[in-house]
């Protein structure tokens, strides 16, 4: 299939700003789905609210555009009801880890079989450039004119500690890597997380004098490095990319199915 076949053409052009990284994530995701040969009717995309969440409108899957931060909770209901469906849940950084942080850690803890994508532009794009819990100290934002003092989460540490069985990080500069990770995450049985640094030239870029999209991408290239690499050892201040967690564990759906089976057999 052609990647274009996964898109609802009547909703294009999309609403993202020129140079926005979110489109790159969409592209990589569609390529990954195409590569896996997943039928459109087996895929459910659930999103919250934010620029990132707009993705639900553009793809020709079963799509649900829900509430800010709550996408994983809705997705949990869908997955428990229809375990055979493939669930993909793209979220903004604020969506996933500020307002939705609780749902994120609990979905990871349960190890529900679904893929969470954190489209991390280090800012609240949709609402006009306020800082997020992934912005980090020193980030300038419309609610941090003197620079944020808020420490940032490391999404990978958080995912790992909470029990995610697959966790990977990359950026919109590393498109091939991104596609590979998405493929790895979707095929992984259990809760998988892919964090993608995505550029928001409109707010993050402007507020932090990073230059426009190409320059922001260059910063992703230069500011990140593969985990386990020599380069990282020499430059520990760089941000590691790669697969941080990939392990097998019983996923919640399986565990629940077994609970049901046992409950039936113990019945008189």
């Amino acid at each position: 299939m052609n990647v274009q076949d996964y898109v609802r053409k009547r909703f294009l052009p999309h609403l993202w700003c020129p140079g926005c990284g979110h489109g790159t994530v969409l592209n990589a995701l569609l390529r990954s789905v195409d590569e896996l040969g997943l039928p459109k009717e087996d895929i459910v995309m659930v999103t919250g609210i934010g620029c990132s969440a707009r993705m639900a409108g553009y793809v020709d899957f079963h799509t649900m555009h829900t509430l800010h931060g709550r996408a994983l909770a809705f997705a949990t209901g869908i997955k428990m009801s229809r375990p055979e469906l493939t669930l993909i849940v793209p979220m903004g950084d604020g969506d996933a880890l500020a307002i939705g942080g609780n749902h994120f850690i609990h979905a990871a803890r349960r190890n529900l079989d679904m893929t969470a994508i954190i489209m991390n532009n280090h800012i609240y794009g949709m609402t006009g450039g306020q800082f997020s819990p992934l912005s980090g100290p020193g980030t300038t934002a419309t609610t941090a004119p003197r620079g944020s003092i808020d420490p940032a989460f490391d999404a990978m540490d958080l995912a790992k500690a909470a029990g995610a069985t697959y966790a990977a990080r990359t950026t919109t500069f590393h498109v091939r890597e991104l596609q590979k990770m998405l493929t790895g995450a979707i095929t992984h049985k259990g809760f998988s997380v892919v964090e993608v640094f995505s550029q928001c030239p409109t707010y993050y870029g402007r507020k932090n004098n990073t230059g426009d999209a190409p320059e922001m991408l260059k910063a992703f290239r230069d500011g990140t490095v593969k985990i386990g690499s020599k380069e990282l050892e020499e430059n520990p201040e760089l941000i590691p990319r790669g697969v941080f967690v990939d392990r097998d564990a019983v996923d919640y759906g399986e565990a629940y199915a077994e609970l049901c089976r046992n409950a039936v057999s113990e019945a008189p």
């Binding site: 079963h62 509430l67 949990t76 629940y256």
Partner: protein, 383 residues
Amino acid sequence: MKDIRFVQGNEACTLGALYAGMDFFAGYPITPSSEIAEMLSGELPPRGHTFIQMEDEIASLCAVIGGSLTGKKAMTATSGPGFSLMQEALGYAVMTEIPCVIVNVMRGGPSTGLPTQVSQGDVNQARWGIHGDHAIITLTAGSHQALFENTVRAFNLAETFRTPVILLYDELIAHMRERLEIPPEGEIPLVERLMTSVPRDVDYRPYLAREDGRLPMSDFGGAHRYNVTGLYHDMWGFPSTDPSVVRGLLSHLVEKIEGREDELTFTREYEIADAETLLISYGSAARTARQAVYEARDKGVRMGLLELETLWPFPERKVRDALGKANETVVVEMNLGQVFEQVRRVARHPERVFLANRIDGRFITPPDIRRVLRIIAGKGVWA
């Protein structure tokens, strides 16, 4: 043989939900509703149905909506603090027209309030807890038999009107035990989801209502791929800010409920025909009111009771009809007058409507009602 049980109200509600075919429950423990989740955690798995304890009430209602969208009869149960947390998702269910049942076993509020005591303070929250104009269905019950029936009814109405239905009852009903007769299967008709007849690969418009206002549904993840959003949306479910789309959707959402008062409002009448004094009550307070009616009748006083089982949409016509015959009306409830205000609003003579209430976490008594009647009669209170 009749299936008679001696159960708590929360069990009556649970049994009603199972009778209605509820096959998806997500919840978070909170007094005085927890018995529902406890019982379902045992009942649902052997049936192969979903029970999940979520991380909070927000997640619970979100999961319920997800479960329902994929074809399940879904329910959650909570109390005031949890119901407050659910408001955003409740609005989403209203906007996206996803059927579900939300049980709110009332406790005294605001805040943590009186977790284990009786109150009826959430009547207005059920109506207006969510932001924006909307309509909502809220049922209540004053006995376990009625609770069972109204739980089934809640699912039926949710499916018929594709809307969340709130089942609001109080701690006294929740925890008290009394007789419940479970009707044989089939005795109470069940409404199953109206499914679309549009075949696969033909343009299905999930938000195009039929002439009768009903929306045929396609299970999410099934034959039709469509979009669901809490934004104003067109008949395909895609966001729209077109004024005619916005006006059309909002009026549809309101009209499908407000326009069907007669189908949606349920009441019970006791000794009303010749009543000079009319009591209006609901939930456990209606038990006290009925007791007061019988005690009055024993003394030859013409008193009657209109018991409301639908709180929203407010049964305006039925209340107005009943008011017309009485000299004075006393609303009996355990709050500061939430239904009282509605009765006054619809009354032709609001000055003849009075309130007998309690707000201290104690169950309202027949003497509480008689005291108000004495004041109305100009006899004062014999303190």
